[in-house]
């Protein structure tokens, strides 16, 4: 069900081939957002559109496919995802992601158990650190998934956050 798979060498080879093919047309799919073909530099700098289709998806695979054009996401310890074990309140879950990878072009945050899977998508322009912190809502206990795009490849990290019923506020 999860797209974050342990890639076998064979798969990696396939992926590499795909990436090489795509590179020819300027890795426009990197953004995977705008329907038209947008040169990468411009995409990162100015005229990105809100990825409506990706935000409408209700499972991880569909959301990632809409975002990155059927990526193969490899789990990576180069992606560090900082989330609490138990959310103090599902309405405000602090999430930090950073990637120790060169040429990062985007960071996506997904919450598979939420009604809509994609929570936030951050295209990273050149010169901006591949690192972002924000606060997300979680409807119930779920993994939080970070998918980082770097050099046209996709690296993932996931961690579970427990959301319990609060209501008294301590």
């Amino acid at each position: 069900m999860s797209r974050i798979i342990i890639a076998t060498p064979a798969r990696l080879a396939v992926e590499r081939r795909l990436v090489l093919q795509i590179l020819g047309i300027g890795s426009l799919a990197a953004m995977g957002l705008a329907p038209g073909l947008v040169p990468r530099a411009q995409a990162a700098e100015q005229s990105l559109a809100w990825p409506k289709n990706a935000f409408a998806q209700k499972n991880e695979t569909a959301a990632l496919d809409a975002l990155y054009e059927k990526p193969i996401v490899v789990p990576s310890d180069k992606v560090s995802l900082d989330v609490p074990e138990i959310a103090e309140n599902g309405a405000v879950v602090p999430v930090s992601v950073s990637a120790a990878l060169p040429n990062v072009t985007a960071i996506a945050l997904l919450i598979p158990e939420n009604p809509f899977t994609l929570a936030a998508y951050y295209p990273i322009p050149e010169g901006t650190e591949p690192s972002v912190s924000c606060r997300l809502k979680m409807a119930k206990t779920s993994d939080v998934v970070a998918v980082v795009e770097a050099d046209g490849k996709h690296y993932g990290a996931r961690k579970q956050v427990k959301v319990t019923l609060g209501g008294c506020g301590g």
């Binding site: 138990i86 309405a91 959301v163 506020g169 301590g170």
Partner: protein, 288 residues
Amino acid sequence: MKVAIAAIGRRAAAGGILLLALVLPPASAEQRIDPAADQRAFQTYFRQAFPDVALDDFANGPYAVDKDMRKQWEEIMQFPPYDFALEDGKKLFETPFKDGKTYADCFPQKGIGIRQNYPYFDRQTGEVVTLDLAINRCREKNGEKPLPYQVGDMAAIDAYMASTSRGKPFAIEIPDDARALAAYEEGKQFFYERRGQLNFSCASCHVQAAGKRLRGDILAPALGILASFPIYRSDWGSMGTVDRRFISCNEQVRSVAFKPEDELYRDLEYFLSYMSNGVAIAGPGTRP
């Protein structure tokens, strides 16, 4: 002894049918009211229960006693959600009333750095005055309508005034006045007596179960619990004052809550704040 009767008398007057039961007061009611001794016992209990928590850190409630919660809190405090209220509060505090006066004219030290002295016992009127009550009395004195309690502008002004008092330890005084002692005792009883269909007291959660989980929440120790008010609660998605917290606590145990600034709530705030003397003001704060 006289004082004890005064305290009971108030409750009995409210509930006439209690009178019979009170003709013979229980032996314990004859104990002398000794706030200083109560405070020592109260603080000793929490210091022993949480030996690793510094006195001022008790203001941070659940974040003082749980590591994972504290980390989330520290992240949230990088840009605290009460910032908007704080800014609004400063503006409201500094905006003159129609008569040209401001809040500063109503308070000692122009209202700056005084949160730690509230609530206080007003010997003239013989009642406990909280900061929120004083804010509204100031408005009325200057021909303005009182603000609704619990939320909004009241919470914002309260937040600003608290922020100017950060680091100043609670310094609540209980004057040697039978009425003040009676109010204190009333607040103390409210804190320890069980209420509501769920049969909980304030102490059930914030003394006996302090630091433990109730559903997903970690219960704050009662010591210092009011030092970070008003609070932005994620669950509310907005600011709330002490009144809002008391009312929601009461409703959570299925007890019909009282009106904001009800005498019982003011007495409770008086008792709780006095118990926390020495804990520095840290408001406004955030809570889950």
